[in-house]
């Protein structure tokens, strides 16, 4: 396994990009930061499958491709299945010895947005993880269907306004809580499940390497601040990710073999959820007096969740 050594950022910067520029993602999009980092943290051959979504439509604008590796796109829902199928074929051919290079180390990766992971591709993902294929699924979680104009998905947090759950005089935006997909994937018994953030580049790169190294199905949820739909200035992408991890809206942690939970990043100064929400246009309406109770409710949920994670880490079960 040829893994790029990443003691520090200077060393990491000597790796070569395999995700090319001139894709058509929005300026300041965190998707490409995450994808670049995954492809730079290993020297192995990569076979990548991508669900329909922002990443797929912007990196494969005919006649161009931004991928320097094998890349496949089939439908909205089945990147997990495509990666699993390719992996099964690879294994079979390796056994028969019909590969071009039988010793080459090849890793299988699937990318999906939160719409195609939490909602549409959930059954396919669940199936592929259950069957135990040796691949890594990475969800780029920007909490809405950003490609089609910001509709609500089951990853959208409570109180956020989206084009299909709009805030107004009778509504405070989405009324339901965000689905805890990381816990669901851990419950599948996947050997490595994690939630990572691009602002913590080292933790993220190490998590990716661990997932690629681990044999079996791995799931990683990454927070990908979306400047278009979260409504903030493109230059603040990393700042927003900082706010997300420091306010514990997106705690950074991993779960090994479905039970061993490790918190990977503990913020020195935990900030309030209010501060995180104030930085984004999609929560603007919550600062009106009639909807302020939603912020308190979210803060309570976040505190409870953090307490739960800490207790689980201590209990080691």
């Amino acid at each position: 396994m040829a893994i790029t050594s990443i003691k520090n950022l200077k060393e990491f910067s000597t790796t070569n990009d395999r995700f090319e520029g001139a894709h058509t993602l929005c300026p300041g999009c965190a998707h490409s930061m995450i994808v670049r980092e995954l492809m730079n943290c290993t020297d192995d051959n990569l076979v990548i499958a991508t669900n329909t979504g922002c990443l797929e439509v912007s990196t494969a604008v005919y006649p161009f491709t931004s991928w320097d590796t094998s890349w496949i796109h089939i439908g909205f829902e089945n990147a997990a299945t495509a990666a699993a199928g390719a992996e099964a074929m690879f294994k079979a051919r390796k056994k028969k010895g019909t590969l071009k290079d039988n010793n080459a180390s090849t890793k299988f990766v699937a990318f999906g947005g939160d719409g195609s992971t939490y909602d549409i591709g959930f059954q396919w993902l669940s199936g592929a993880i259950e069957r135990g294929h040796d691949f890594t699924y990475i969800c780029l979680d920007n909490e809405n269907y950003a490609n089609t104009g910001g509709q609500r998905s089951s990853a959208t947090p409570i109180g956020a306004t989206t084009s299909t759950a709009q805030a107004g005089s009778h509504s405070y935006g989405k009324k339901e809580k965000k689905k805890d997909l990381v816990a669901i994937m851990a419950a599948h018994g996947a050997p490595y499940v994690a939630q990572l953030a691009p602002n913590k580049w080292k933790i993220m790169a190490k998590g990716f390497q661990k997932a690629l190294e681990t044999e079996g199905p791995c799931f990683i949820n990454t927070v990908s601040p979306c400047c278009t739909e979260w409504k903030f200035d493109p230059k603040d992408t990393i700042g927003l990710a900082d706010l997300a991890t420091d306010s514990l809206m997106f705690p950074v942690y991993e779960i090994i073999d479905g039970h061993e939970l490790n918190i990977l990043y503990r913020p020195k100064n935990i900030i309030t959820v209010e501060e995180y929400m104030a930085a984004q246009g999609r929560y603007k309406h919550l600062f009106k007096p009639e909807y302020r109770h939603i912020i308190d409710e979210v803060q309570k949920q976040v505190n409870k969740n953090w307490e739960m994670l800490q207790r689980r880490e201590e209990a080691r079960i």
């Binding site: 910067s13 395999r18 090319e20 490409s32 980092e37 020297d43 491709t65």
Partner: protein, 151 residues
């Protein structure tokens, strides 16, 4: 589609898509078509730097998104400490870094999102945004002085 062709033609190396025989419209592509990212053998790509690779006309590296930009980041070598923060967080792979040194910005792929300026830790920043048509000398002459810490 037409625009992309024109952009690709204006790209480095003048690899015009027109010269590519057999290129059909996106609606005429048959199932199972493969767009190769490289000319010839593509093994060991992970160990080649971008200037050593044989990109094909289909690789978006040969295209440009420079027209998206209103402002461009300008790099000041004198202040840079080569921390590589801009390299790791650039969403468009536009920071040219070789041998742990920051060399400059790839203006063909930069979209002017300003993330690199925001994450730059030096004082004053070694990357700043200027108007698209500002000359380098002009920009460097306008560079702000070091800010003193507020007490």
């Amino acid at each position: 589609m037409q625009d992309l062709r024109l952009l690709a033609q204006a790209k480095r190396g003048q690899r015009g898509l027109e010269n590519k025989s057999g290129l059909v419209g996106w609606d005429e592509v048959t199932q199972g078509t493969v767009l190769p990212s490289f000319e010839g053998d593509a093994t060991n790509i992970a160990n080649l730097k971008s200037e050593e690779r044989a990109y094909s006309n289909f690789n978006s590296y040969t295209a440009t998104v420079a027209s998206w930009r209103v402002k461009k980041p300008v790099f000041n070598r004198d202040i840079c400490i080569d921390c590589q923060n801009c390299w790791v967080w650039c969403p468009d792979s536009s920071i040219l870094s070789r041998d742990k040194q920051m060399l400059g910005i790839d203006y063909d792929h930069c979209k002017g999102c300003e993330v690199c300026v925001e994450v730059c830790p030096t004082n004053p920043k070694s990357l700043l945004m200027f108007g698209e048509y500002t000359e380098l000398e002009e920009a460097l002459a306008q560079w702000p002085e070091k800010k003193k810490k507020e007490k």
